[in-house]
Symmetry: C2
């Protein structure tokens, strides 16, 4: 039977992990590898592409393919819609719109999203509950220049994230994780104490070069974002 790309990948992987192919060393070319494994060059190519994606080898057009000196550890996080996140835990999801207003973009937001002087934004404050307990506080700004139709949406039933995901299926995203402290305003929503540590996700989204939205998601104290890979 012909070698599959998985056979090739796992054989090369073991050569790397056992040190047979040393960090920094040049990897044989795909034609030679295809001859060695008795398979098509496309099969070798697919194995190499996955090894590159896994951070084990580095492919450079002119310098050739080498074993990485220090493999990159890449973590992939699914950023689920909060409804799915809560329902996956077996809890009942409840959404509530706290406030909705159209405002001139504040200076810090104009700077962050490179908005013009006169940009107006739709600001939405929402809460997400799991089995009735506060789970996530959402503070969201939507750029009405790039997404004017947001003005006509009733966000009292559908959260802005769900609406945005179905409206803008593909976009550039900048995401930051950080630790903060609950202030007076947050303690009311999250039923926690002032000074409790809170995990925060900030996300800015662009669509075809235009900024669309900025959101700050603050989780109840004790929240952990976990992934396995």
């Amino acid at each position: 039977m012909k070698a599959t790309y998985k056979d090739v990948k796992s054989d090369i992987l073991s050569k790397i992990t056992k040190g047979e192919w040393a960090p920094g060393s040049l990897v044989p070319n795909e034609v030679d590898l295809a001859a060695t494994y008795g398979c098509a060059r496309a099969t070798v190519n697919r194995a190499m592409r996955e090894l590159a994606d896994d951070g084990l080898i580095e492919r450079r057009r002119k310098a050739g393919t080498r074993v990485r000196m220090t493999p990159i550890r890449q973590a992939r996080f699914d950023i689920p819609i909060v409804r799915a996140e809560i329902e996956e835990k077996g809890a009942e999801y409840r959404y509530s719109l706290v406030s909705s207003s159209i405002e001139p973009a504040p200076d810090w937001l104009r700077a962050r999203l490179k908005l013009s002087d006169k940009s107006k934004v739709l600001r939405l404050v929402c809460m997400h509950y799991a089995d009735g307990d506060p789970y996530q506080h959402e503070d969201r700004w939507i750029n009405l220049t790039s997404l004017p139709q947001a003005q006509t949406v009733d966000f009292s039933d559908v959260g802005p994230n769900e609406w945005l995901v179905s409206t803008i299926p593909f976009s550039d995203v900048e995401i930051s994780f950080s630790a903060g402290l609950a202030d007076k305003r947050l303690t009311d929503y999250l039923t926690c104490a002032i000074g409790d540590p809170v995990f925060t996700i900030e996300r800015s989204t662009w669509w075809e070069g235009q900024s669309v939205t900025y959101v700050r998601l603050t989780y109840k104290p004790g929240h952990r974002l976990t992934t396995r890979y």
Copy 2:
């Protein structure tokens, strides 16, 4: 000129984002698409694989390929070696080993890593500095059953992460992000105040089914982990 996989991908992408291919709808099969685009089936296959990786389509062996109802937003984070992270900011990296000891594994660690009663661990406490300022506190446990050679390594010059990355190039990892508060012990290392919010990464690593190491990395207050995709 023949359509490249990028041409095919971007054309399909625009069909999805413009709603021409509706969420949940069946995607034409690859043979038909190859005929439409006048390219090889492998070209279509590669485009489809990337669209699946991007979370836009869902490929199921029997049910066929469909446009996803709600695209998954997947964030990829590079978890760099702290030295590279600091040097990329243009700062000078300094590493310091605070303490090193061989101990019986504490109960919470035995539970977390499924270690046997008599497991011994190498515990290393380290600090990482950027231009002389505290940057990251590392509290690390290494399972000596699976990695006995760790006992013979001198960690006063090389940090355990760098050593582990070059020793175990590929492994299963569980990683958690959370927010915590600096306690008395951490304030001394990170020169911050008790109760300052700190961003924490915890990582457990397995290699061929055996637990290898658990580490808790605590960053100086104000640290943000950011990625763009």
